[in-house]
């Protein structure tokens, strides 16, 4: 009874209090009318003040805003993890592993493009098990092999030699990135034991997220002219609607429009059917539509089981979305994009 059970009541109350402070639709409408400097001031008053002040002596302008939003998200996710115990902590920790993977990808990409340490740090989100110090250690390493070995040691999860060899042979980061994504979802599905209805819902959500990732991958590969069997090796197993058979059918289609039409029986189709533009080679709107679908899924179940992992998961999804939205608005404003275009990119 008191063994590994998580402290759901405590954690859920905390995330619900935090969720009340998230930005709403009217906040984004106001931000769309602002300059990047005004957006920085606005979000400082909306809960990002500490991170903005901490980083103000090192960064300025858009860089300050971008780093502060990531730092804020990392701090909040870290505090949620610290506040969780038992199986809730296991699930939150497994969910946050994606940020360890994200950070490793950023470091490897940064190194391959010859970025300096500060340039790499800009995109890091120390929200996983690796803190800023561990990430600095990884950045300071010279070779990719050392980084991968140190990462494996720090996260207690080895990267198989064949993956490292394939990466070295082709100098293609996709080999490592693909492996990290697969392992993340496999581990996450392992950790969420389907013992009760909320865990079923969490698993279901993860499976739908895998579907979205796979569909996105298929569309992106299609734009690069990769189809059929070649595309299949990038598919993550464990999807809810896109199993191996459905993925093969989607991968075999010729164009993005055909793939979207093929997906007409799937849950996310309603959210993407209007987004597809047969004239443009861009899948940006489709990806936004799928993000909206993911958000709707989490909104559907967020009120169902107050004493479970669901409110915590729901908050983390919304917080990540808020940070992405703020960055989108700020970047759009900085580059002088039309307000309607920026609005179309937001997931609200």
């Amino acid at each position: 009874m008191f063994g590994r059970k998580g402290n759901y009541a405590y954690a859920a109350a905390r995330v619900k209090a935090k969720k009340a402070h998230l930005l709403g639709e009217e906040d984004y409408s106001k931000m769309l009318m602002m300059t990047p400097q005004e957006i920085s001031r606005y979000i400082s008053e909306a809960g990002y003040a500490k991170e903005m002040a901490d980083l103000a002596n090192r960064e300025s302008g858009l860089n300050l805003l971008e780093r502060a939003t990531y730092a804020n998200m990392a701090n909040i996710f870290g505090s949620i993890l610290l506040a969780s115990t038992g199986d809730l902590r296991d699930m939150v920790s497994a969910y946050l592993t994606k940020w360890d993977n994200w950070n490793l990808k950023v470091i490897l990409r940064g190194k391959s493009y010859g970025l300096d340490a500060d340039g790499i740090r800009e995109d890091l989100v120390p929200a996983g098990s690796l803190g800023a110090e561990s990430l600095d250690k990884l950045i300071s390493m010279e070779s990719e092999e050392d980084i991968l070995a140190a990462f494996s040691k720090m996260t207690h999860s080895a990267i198989p030699q064949e993956v490292v060899s394939a990466y070295k042979a082709k100098s293609n980061l996709a080999e490592i990135e693909d492996f990290l994504d697969r392992r993340y979802y496999e581990h996450l599905l392992d950790v969420i034991r389907p013992v009760d209805r909320p865990s079923f819902i969490f698993r279901d959500y993860v499976s739908k997220e895998i579907d979205v990732r796979n569909f996105e991958t298929i569309l992106k590969l299609k734009l690069d002219g990769v189809r059929g069997e070649q595309a299949m090796k990038y598919i993550i197993p464990g999807g809810k609607q896109i199993d191996a058979k459905a993925a093969a059918q989607l991968a075999a289609t010729e164009t993005v429009a055909e793939a979207v039409a093929e997906a007409s029986q799937m849950g996310f189709y309603e959210d993407i059917k209007d987004a597809i533009d047969p004239q443009a080679a861009s899948i940006r709107k489709v990806v936004s539509g799928m993000k909206r679908y993911e958000m709707m899924q989490s909104k559907k179940f967020s009120h169902l089981y107050p004493l479970s992992v669901i409110p915590v998961l729901d908050y983390m999804i919304h917080k990540e979305n808020e940070v992405n939205n703020i960055r989108t608005v700020a970047r759009g404003a900085e580059s002088g994009l039309d307000r309607e275009v920026i609005k179309g990119l937001l997931v609200i």
């Binding site: 402290n7 009541a9 405590y10 954690a11 859920a12 109350a13 905390r14 619900k16 209090a17 935090k18 506040a83 004493l307």
Partner: protein
């Protein structure tokens, strides 16, 4: 027998309210951590299940003096 009945009435009501208070108190502490201004309201919700013990106590007193 009356003494055992009275003991059970208070004891079981106490266990019940304790179980009820467990989650309420944990949630209240979580809410207060995020926003200390809700202390007063949170405290009221935490002690609400305590009223169950009063019912148990009333039954125990009635068992002793009325029956």
């Amino acid at each position: 027998m009356i003494a055992i009945g009275a003991g059970l009435a208070v004891g079981l009501a106490g266990i019940g309210s304790g179980l009820g208070e467990k989650d309420a108190a944990a949630a209240a502490i979580g809410a207060i951590t995020e926003d200390p201004s809700v202390f007063g309201r949170a405290l009221i919700f935490v002690v609400l299940p305590e009223t169950i013990v009063i019912f148990g106590l009333v039954i125990a007193i009635m068992a002793f003096f009325v029956l």
